[in-house]
Symmetry: C2
Subunit: 184 residues, 2 copies
DNA sequence: CACAAAACTGTCCGATCGGTCAGCCCCTGA
DNA sequence: TCAGGGGCTGACCGATCGGACAGTTTTGTG
């Protein structure tokens, strides 16, 4: 064998990235990567200092881009920061989509657990309801955002009593879905 | 020892729930739970059929409530489904917050990885920018929602070219933040 | 062609995981 | 009093993980 070294490194990174995104970082073993690449586990450890080093090298560009966005926003005050922050964040996410998947695809893996069988089906129908049974792509994306954002808030510590938090969440979610919350 | 059996079961569930939420299901071993509860690992497996059974018993109420919401929404068509869906989902999430944490707290665990050092700080500042540097709780919650929702969309397969997806995401995010996207 | 460096392999290792099992303790009721 | 069963333990098991290492093949170079 003895392929081109830097090309081999890249091949390892791409394969590992695919596997990490498909399953998850923790659930993907060095054996899995080696099998997919077509080399021995020891070969991986020859090119990289360890499993963590593979992940680090894979995520570094995204982390650096986030740091760049951070410094760019630091100079903007108040309302001026909102639009650049949103656009910058969305661009970042789209540009490093595979990296994002690696971080977030622990959730689908968790949903594969027998205890949660049938949940994905129900969340699909929930998206349908959020979108008002519409097939419009924008409505579907907004619905997906609501499905994701509400639990994220729930998993985070929020200094707000449940009743107020409930009202705020409903209001924000309706705005996301382009439904005016200001009505009876 | 020989404690009250059902009380002991409840104690195990509560401790396990706390540990699962604090770290993650996979990263929490039976040893960890046993140490925290103050019994042997074998004692856990005497009361439960296995690690999965503990998780299942913990999540079952939430899964059932989700199924209930699902059937309740099934009869509603089009726009009539939106508000009940949003309110039902928010209520569900608030009611089973610990269960939600268990599913979602794989992400914070991932963010603890050395490769992602410093990322939480930057996302905190990103939330600040999303909220327009405001301390208003509603603005902070909306910002948190945006931070969560955008990557969730990125990690999901969306049948939309990147450019359109970008525009949709920015628009929806601005609506979530209560910023009117309809302007130059 | 010779030889050193690079590339790679098979094998082994310690740690940790979920789970099993024989047996001990102790309360209960006949 | 003593059999018996529920509650529980410590020791152990096989599987799997990331990683170490000595040794072998391949490659580049004088």
């Amino acid at each position: 064998m003895a392929r081109n070294s830097s090309g081999f490194r890249r091949e390892i990174l791409e394969t590992a990235s695919r596997l990490f995104a498909a399953t998850s970082f923790k659930a993907t073993s060095l054996q899995d990567i080696a099998r997919e690449v077509g080399c021995s586990k020891a070969a991986l450890l020859y090119h990289f200092d360890g499993k963590d080093a593979i992940l680090t090298e894979m995520l570094t560009p995204a982390v650096e881009a986030l740091a760049e966005l951070d410094t760019r926003l630091a100079g903007l005050a108040g309302d001026d920061a909102v639009l650049p922050a949103v656009e910058g964040f969305v661009d970042l996410m789209l540009r490093f989509r595979s990296a994002v998947k690696i971080i977030y695809d622990d959730i689908p893996e968790m949903l594969r657990h027998p205890a949660l069988a049938g949940v994905p089906d129900k969340t699909d129908r929930l998206i349908d309801a959020f979108a008002g049974r519409s097939a419009d792509p924008e409505a579907r994306v907004a619905a997906l955002m609501v499905l994701g954002s509400v639990p994220v808030v729930g998993a985070s510590p929020v200094p707000l009593p449940d009743e107020e938090l409930r009202a705020v969440l409903v209001r924000c979610a309706l705005r996301t879905l382009d439904r005016d919350p200001t009505r009876s």
